[in-house]
């Protein structure tokens, strides 16, 4: 095999892509179609709750197009971090979508499911053996954090995916996977260098974001040979430039020269980006350096309570001038009113948009210039009822609070909604971001092969 062609339709499964770009990609006769489906960026709720942050219909639309095309070309579709966070419920959710597509389209599919969620007792055992280390800047793991976590996943490397490819499947749904792996695994299996395969995967996992103009909802093609790879955006309106590709390489990472992943790092010190025509860039020199120990990243989230919020605005200049002291007084009123409730059972926050709503303590501007302020009152408590109660009390206390010099005595807040208080449900927090040393990068991620669709199925 001289080269391997990888079609990356979209930055996140469910973000969509134009059919014209996708069909242009198919003309290149790709060897695989791969897509990353997840991220920790939308926050801890999705990992903790088991829900996807992408929409089911949107995911189904993207997958249907990809699977039908791949079946015609007799190539595999690979999905990394299925369901957004890659835990068991996320994988199951994505599997159900594939089953529906197979039945609707009359396709017989062999599907590989790779689990990336760990049982807590396994993690406790690994902790007791001293196999878990913190990943900067988090503190060493505490046994209580493992026990209180709702869900823990590990980022798989290319090895479990290569094992699934050995089984000649049509679709691979991987649980939590290091983003570049679904693009790189088929290439490494075919004998291409790991460093280039993973670096190409690192760029393709965001599809056309690395092009100019960038888009997360458009297709990119990667062509990998033994000593370089070429990137080509599949929408004629976009082009790859040395700058757009190099700039993307540093996106979302703390150190662009050393990208840490399962089992080692992608070393970009010798990487060269070269414009080969006005739309394509060639990349050379990226290397993979194996670590002595094979480690994978663990991600965990725990449930910490329930949230109720109230959104309001104020336009009164006399109130705006004193906003900090008003908030402090209202907080004190809530504290006194709920003196019977343990302080650790609830938290109360005010977010003041127009002052420091976006940056909080990092906000360098101290002088208030806004003629109006947006205020979110937020209560997090052990039960939804308690969150409702705290939010409700605080909202009414602020609405009628008699601040110094008040002349607008009918009410201090403008509410855009009725009901004014919005229950947002369970609240999660990330609590594990650590490295686990494993002996066998394949066995840690169990593989299941299922057959779906066909006339006699479902």
């Amino acid at each position: 095999m001289e080269e391997i062609r990888v079609l990356a339709p979209t930055a996140i499964l469910g973000y969509g892509f134009p059919l014209e770009s996708f069909n242009r990609g198919l003309k290149y006769k790709p060897d695989i179609i791969a897509v990353d489906a997840g991220s920790t960026d939308p926050g801890p709720y999705y990992l903790g709750s088991g829900n996807s942050f992408t929409d089911r219909e949107a995911v189904k639309r993207d997958l249907r197009i990809m699977i039908k095309a791949a079946k015609e070309l007799n190539i595999p579709v690979l999905v990394g971090t299925a369901g957004g966070s890659g835990g068991r419920p996320h994988l199951e959710w994505c599997k159900d979508i594939v089953v529906e597509i197979a039945q609707k389209e009359g396709l017989n599919l062999t599907v590989a499911l790779i689990n990336a969620e760990f049982d807590k007792d396994y993690i406790v055992d690994q902790y007791n053996r001293g196999n878990i280390e913190p990943l900067y800047p988090v503190a060493p793991l505490d046994l209580n954090e493992i026990i209180s976590s709702t869900r823990i996943v590990g980022q798989m490397g290319i090895e479990p995916i290569i094992k699934a490819l050995d089984r000649e499947v049509d679709v691979i749904l991987a649980g939590r996977a290091y983003d570049p792996t679904v693009f790189a695994a088929p290439a490494v299996k075919a004998g291409f260098p790991e460093g280039l395969s993973l670096h190409m995967g690192k760029i393709l996992e965001c599809a056309s974001i690395a092009a100019d103009p960038g888009s997360g909802s458009d297709c990119m093609l990667g062509i990998l040979s033994k000593d370089s790879f070429i990137l080509e955006p599949l929408n004629k309106k976009r082009k790859c430039t040395e700058t757009s590709v190099a700039a993307h390489t540093l996106y979302e990472k703390s150190n662009p020269y050393e990208l840490l992943g399962p089992g080692g790092i992608i070393d970009l010190r010798e990487t060269k980006f070269k414009q080969i025509d006005n739309r394509r860039v060639e990349v050379k020199g990226s290397r993979f350096v194996k670590n002595e120990k094979y480690t994978i990243k663990l991600e965990g989230a725990k449930m910490i309570g329930y949230r109720t919020i109230s959104i309001a605005g104020t336009r009164d200049p006399i109130m705006i001038e004193q906003i900090d002291s008003i908030i402090a007084d209202v907080k004190e009123m809530a504290k006194e009113n709920f003196a019977n409730i343990k302080a650790e059972d609830y938290q109360l926050f005010f977010r003041v948009y127009g002052k420091n709503g976006v940056m909080g303590d990092l906000e360098p501007k101290s002088k208030l210039l806004s003629h109006e302020l947006g205020i979110i009152i937020e209560a997090i408590a052990l039960t939804q009822e308690l969150a409702n109660t705290i939010c409700s009390f605080t909202r009414s206390a602020m609405l009628h609070y008699g601040y110094d010099g008040r002349i607008a005595t009918a009410g201090n807040l403008a509410f855009p909604y009725s009901p004014s208080d919005i229950k947002t449900g369970e609240v999660y927090q990330f609590n594990i971001n650590h490295l686990l040393e494993i002996d066998n990068p394949v066995e840690a991620f169990p593989l299941e092969i299922i057959k779906v669709g066909g006339e006699n199925d479902g």
Binding site: P42, A247, M359, L362, P364, I380, N433
Partner: protein, 103 residues
């Protein structure tokens, strides 16, 4: 010296680097400016510490990335993404103090 950085930079952005760190990218339009900023250490821990009102030990790294004419600044997030009291889950709106840099 003394011109606003936005005259020299084509990208100034912030983003999560995982849930526990924020990373800032400044990509310069011109390699000469990039070299000047790099050689003269115009972007350094003292400056970032002052702009964001954070201790220097909260700055993970400042790395110049040759191929993209870029400097990357990474700091420890005051709160992990989505934690109670946190304000910017994606970390995408924390770049603004960098716009006041003059070079």
């Amino acid at each position: 010296m003394g011109k606003p950085i936005i005259e020299y930079a084509e990208v100034i952005r912030s983003k999560n680097a995982g849930p526990y760190e924020l990373t800032f990218d400044i990509i310069f339009k011109d390699r000469k400016i990039y070299e000047r900023v790099k050689e003269n250490k115009l972007i350094n821990k003292n400056l970032i510490s002052r702009l964001y009102g954070i201790e220097k030990d909260q700055i993970s790294s400042i790395i110049f990335f040759e191929p993209a004419r870029a400097v990357k600044i990474t700091i420890v997030r005051p709160l992990s993404a989505g934690a109670p009291g946190e304000r910017d889950v994606y970390g995408a709106q924390q770049h603004v103090p960098l716009l006041s840099i003059e070079i």
